[in-house]
């Protein structure tokens, strides 16, 4: 068990000169020779190619599968149409997260759940403990490889290598099944970069190298875990262990503290009871009250994860304190880094990325729920206090490189 695992694409990472690191028990590329900044920019301009085979892939089948998933996940699995995927959370009874995940319904009669590599074994143990009759659970992490292709040129590249250029319907979370050189490829319009054009591909492990090589030959830039993190952070997307799970003080982060969970928690009558429902109802009530401008009782959701624009060159890192202008502590940075962006040329709808790039800090913070977009804050980095502003939650429709605008607030 203590042995480190390698994905089926390990040899390609090493041959490509990647720096390999231990990540959640997997030997993964942190970056390729071009470096994190170049990989990030290549994804935003054209397309990035990611090996995400280290993530857990668990199949659920059997007559009881839907009812089981309704009980152990927060989203409404019964509402998931064939050919669709949904973001979902694996809740505990306290309304905290055991993990966050994506649920895919590629084929009739079975669901595919993709979970974080670091939580896979805990997730499997939790599911096993809650398993009821007529549910088959199958860990397919080794049999099925997963490759992510993200960025404005991704659609063109993928179409070009498919045996028949039929892609899933052009909407986020839609799914399809295609073939490359006769090998079946599961195609999902999902991703972890915030790119409007994005695909996650699953293929039998022994065929994964072929798929990787074909996409690389079309110009997709291999991207390591380093830029995967800067890309998701620029897009404001949560990462378990930072924005979900246990907070800096050892307390459970409420699931509804993260913005994307609003669309991943269902109280629909069809869903019925599920693990953590009572606690989530209390968290949801706080959001409803905040929506009406009532901040009187935030106890079930005292802090929420919000994007921060740090108006300084100094990177605010995970763990930095966040203060109100009067010096009062209002939370802390859950994830922070520096992300590059293409400087735009032109104005309005004709604006497009130019040849020049720059860097600016991006961060997510767990801060008091009463704060809102535009509120001024300070982030303490070592002995310095950097001005920061709460940013708006980013829409999945606008690409994250629109974010440099935030720095001029």
């Amino acid at each position: 068990m203590s042995d480190i695992s390698r994905t089926v694409l390990y040899g390609r990472h090493v041959a490509g000169g990647a720096k390999m690191v231990d990540f959640a028990g997997w030997e993964m590329p942190i970056q390729y020779p071009r470096g994190i900044v170049a990989e990030h920019l290549a994804t935003r301009r054209a397309a990035g190619l990611f090996d995400v085979s280290h993530m857990g892939r668990i199949v659920f089948a059997g007559r009881g599968a839907t009812a089981f998933l309704q009980r152990v996940l927060t989203n409404n699995a019964a509402e998931l149409a064939l050919g669709q995927a949904q973001y979902t959370v694996i809740p505990n009874a306290a309304g905290g997260a055991i993990d966050d995940a994506f649920l895919y319904r590629f084929e009739e009669g079975r669901y595919l759940l993709v979970v974080n590599a670091s939580n896979r074994l805990a997730d499997l143990a939790h599911f096993r403990a809650n398993l009821t009759g007529q549910v088959e659970m199958l860990d397919q992490t080794d049999e099925l490889a997963m490759i992510s292709l993200q960025g404005p040129a991704s659609q063109e590249m993928l179409s070009a290598i498919l045996d028949q250029p039929a892609l899933p319907a052009p909407a986020r979370n839609s799914l399809g099944i295609g073939k490359v050189h006769g090998a079946k490829v599961l195609i999902a319009r999902t991703g972890y970069t915030g790119e409007p054009l994005c695909f996650e591909l699953m293929i039998a492990s022994q065929q994964a190298g072929m798929l990787w090589d074909m996409l690389a030959a079309r110009g997709a830039a291999p991207v390591g875990l380093g830029a995967r993190d800067t890309l998701r952070l620029e897009a404001g997307l949560p990462l378990y262990g930072h924005e979900l799970g246990i907070d800096r003080d050892g307390k459970e982060i409420p699931i509804l503290a993260i913005a994307p969970a609003r669309f991943a928690v269902s109280f629909a009558p069809a869903k019925g009871d599920f693990i953590g429902r009572e606690a989530l109802l209390r968290q949801h009530a706080v959001l409803e009250r905040i929506g009406k401008g009532d901040y009187s009782d935030l106890s079930a959701l005292p802090r929420r994860v919000m994007p921060l624009a740090v108006l300084d060159r100094l990177p605010a890192r995970a763990g930095c304190d966040i203060l109100a202008p009067d010096g009062r502590s209002v939370g802390y940075v859950t994830s922070g880094t520096v992300a590059p962006y293409w400087k735009f040329e032109g104005q309005g709808p004709s604006a497009r990325p130019g040849e020049q790039s720059a860097l600016r800090p991006v961060a997510l913070g767990l801060v008091e729920s009463s704060l809102k977009a535009g509120d001024k804050l300070q982030v303490q980095v070592r002995q310095q206090f950097c001005p920061a502003v709460v940013g708006p939650n980013l829409s999945a429709k606008s690409p994250p490189y629109a974010r440099p605008v935030l720095c001029q607030i």
Binding site: I30, Q31, G35, I36, V37, G226, T230, R313, L314, P315, R317, T337, V338, A339, L359, R382
Partner: protein, 133 residues
């Protein structure tokens, strides 16, 4: 490879004594630059500040992390390289010349004794111990 005439610390800073002026120039090795990856921020002490051997004198940040810089000697900062703060690429392009960080007036004689020669540093990099720093 670190050029002759330079000496290095286990934490990958270099120092070079100018015999004529008695001033020591300080920077970080090409190995350190390569390990850091994309460098995005550098914080250096101002002129006049005292630095102490093996104590933190500054911070360098890559996309991945913030890393502390340790002084190779006791002394007083005469000048810090302000130009590189806006041109961090210089650290990768020319770590032993244009990428210098500090000019330091040593606190005493033999301030650099105990640091590694380029050959010793190379052998140290090939040992397992280097990975800890």
């Amino acid at each position: 490879m670190v050029p002759q005439g330079y000496v290095c610390t286990k934490t990958h800073e270099w120092a070079r004594l100018d015999a004529a002026s008695g001033i020591v120039t300080v920077g970080i090795t090409d190995y350190a630059v390569e390990q850091l990856g994309d460098i995005v921020y550098l914080e250096l002490p101002a002129a006049g500040k005292a630095i102490q051997q093996e104590k933190v004198f500054g911070v360098i940040e890559s996309v991945k992390a913030a890393v502390e810089l340790y002084a190779p000697l006791d002394g007083q900062v005469v000048e810090s390289n302000k130009a590189i703060a806006d041109q961090l690429d210089v650290l990768a392009a020319d770590p032993y010349n244009a990428g210098w960080m500090l000019k330091v007036k040593p606190a005493g004689a033999n301030s650099l004794s105990g640091l590694m020669s380029p050959q010793e540093y190379q052998a140290y990099l090939e040992s397992d111990e280097a990975k800890k720093h």
